[in-house]
Amino acid sequence: MSILRTISSSSEPEPRVSRRTLLKDSAALAMGAAALPLARGAAVEQPVTAASGSLLGKGKVIDCHAHLNHHSRKTWEADDRKLIEAADKLGIDQLCCSTLTPHWPASLDGFRECNKWTAEGMKRFPGRVLGYCYVNPGYGRETLEEIRRYVGDGGFMGIKLYNEYLCTDPVVYPIVELAIELGVPILHHASHSHYFVEDQPRLTDGGHLAELARRYPEAMLICAHISGGGDWEWTIKAARHAPNLMLDTSGSVTDAGTVDMAAAVVGVDRLVFGCDSSMTAGIGKIRGADLAAQDKQKILGGNMMRLLGRRKA
């Protein structure tokens, strides 16, 4: 399946929070929920699909950081449906999903199984779920084969890396080079705390990612969850001089000023909206940021569309 077909949205749910509502301040809430516009047709520009020729679809909202549930979880199927239902309520058109193993480091069989389930999820929710291929870089040739199978041939939109290795470890370089060859982004788990995170000894931070971005200026790197990755002010400053490093706004932390500072320091063109399962936090932060509507639209979907549009045939 090509990424162009994947991006074309076939189902158009009714969002509880329309884009118009999403992008403006919520003074209407003072008048009660009845004042909120609920109909998509009247309030929302129709997404411009990839098939129509433009990847910079105005109005499309893409969650750059989402997860489907591991099938060892008894309620995985219902929980996956809840994710889509939540996206419907919040007006999120598409979710870029990976499935992660419950324990790290991920084994070869472990991440292969996860990617198979992500592919199945893309079929269960066509046009809504886009797939990241999750790999452990430590498996060398098998890792690269997995990426070629799912990203090269399987229509996945990108690569997800977690905490098995620091992103600056040379074992990661072939993955970055393959991502450049395929023209897809890498979403990398990241956090910077001012203490040693014992359960994640190889935890990448924004500084490591900036270093990797400078080594590979053609790569499209996404620093995960600035709002769930420790000291976000540190992360934003560390990313400043790496123009091919994007910042993902996801995470459960709703500290005021996060999105505003990120926009001021790295620019709105380098921010991509995400939730990482913190759905109302994800939407609320963008709505609360003191930015122009067109800038919010870039963050919500325009920038991610730009990245997806760089995929090579």
């Binding site: 509880r16 929070v17 509502t21 301040d25 919520s26 003074a27 209407a28 809430l29 003072a30 008048m31 009660g32 929920a33 009845a34 909120l36 929980d79 809840k82 994710l83 239902e85 939540a86 309520k89 919040l90 956090s191 705390s193 001012h194 203490y195 769930g228 990755g229 420790g230 000291d231 976000w232 002010e233 459960s252 932390v253 709703t254 500290d255 005021a256 000023g257 399962s277 759905m279 109302t280 936090a281 939407i283 609320g284 932060k285 709505r287 609360g288 940021a289």
Partner: protein, 258 residues
């Protein structure tokens, strides 16, 4: 009408806050449709003498008592807290407290804290307890302040059935007796929703089902937090308008006697 039971004025030692003066917070509230807010001093969280923060707060909210409801931060292990409480209640008109047991390094179960809770309850004051101030992963290298464990909250609500508690900045209540039906606890506490989920696990919905919408209150945590995530929760919450109205303002109006 929206009443925010979880707002602040002043500075926080470890991060710059915007909208942290009375004028700028009111402007933010206007832009978000929030009518009233319970505010306490953010400075008092890290001042040794918290009363200095209360004095600053009293000065800042002067002339705005129709919209900004000041609460006192009192440390029951600091000299003169009884005098401070009296001044805050009688001179500053502060109708409630905020307690920071982990930041001020005391136990909620300690005799001094018991004395403070009893004294505040005697005067009809509401006692709010922020479970956390900020996410622990972003903490300064200078300190490591844990969240207030819900077990300690259970003990204090049991020990003071006549007191009224509002629990701020917490989550996971439905995994503890605090959020369960028929939990045997006095109905003397309410939960503020800024960190509760309204979709996926939908802790707010579970909490309404277990204890009723009467025990939930709207709060944002502004200006620490963007107010919008809490507002979005109300928008997408699967609940009737009557329940939403209770959460939005009615419960707080009743508890705060507004």
């Amino acid at each position: 009408m929206i009443v925010d039971v979880n707002a602040y004025l002043g500075h926080f030692a470890f991060r710059r806050l915007r909208h942290n003066t009375a004028a700028s917070l009111l402007a933010l509230m206007d832009s978000k449709g929030i009518d009233k807010a319970v505010v306490s001093s953010a400075d008092a969280i890290t001042y040794r003498n918290a009363q200095a923060g209360n004095e600053e707060l009293a000065e800042e909210v002067r002339g705005h008592s129709d919209r900004l409801i000041p609460y006192a931060v009192v440390n029951p292990f600091y000299a003169g807290w009884q005098d401070d409480l009296k001044i805050c209640r009688e001179e500053f008109g502060m109708a409630g407290l905020r307690l920071y047991p982990k930041w001020h390094n005391y136990q909620l179960s300690s005799p001094c804290c018991k004395e403070l809770v009893d004294a505040a309850t005697e005067q009809g004051m509401v006692i709010s307890i922020p479970i956390r101030v900020e996410d622990n992963r972003e903490r300064s290298w200078l300190l490591n302040v844990p969240d207030v464990p819900l077990e300690e909250i259970i003990e204090i609500v049991k020990a003071h059935p006549k007191a009224r508690f509002i629990l701020l900045n917490g989550l996971g209540y439905t995994g503890s007796p605090l959020g369960r039906k028929d939990n045997g606890l006095p109905a003397n506490y309410a939960i503020e929703l800024s960190r509760l989920s309204a979709v996926l696990a939908n802790e707010i919905g579970q909490y309404i089902a277990n204890l009723g919408a009467e025990r939930l209150m709207f709060g944002t945590g502004m200006p620490f937090n963007y107010p919008d995530p809490a507002l979005v929760k109300l928008e997408v919450l699967d609940a009737g308008e009557a329940d939403k109205e209770k959460i939005r303002s009615q419960n707080a109006m009743g508890w705060l006697r507004l």
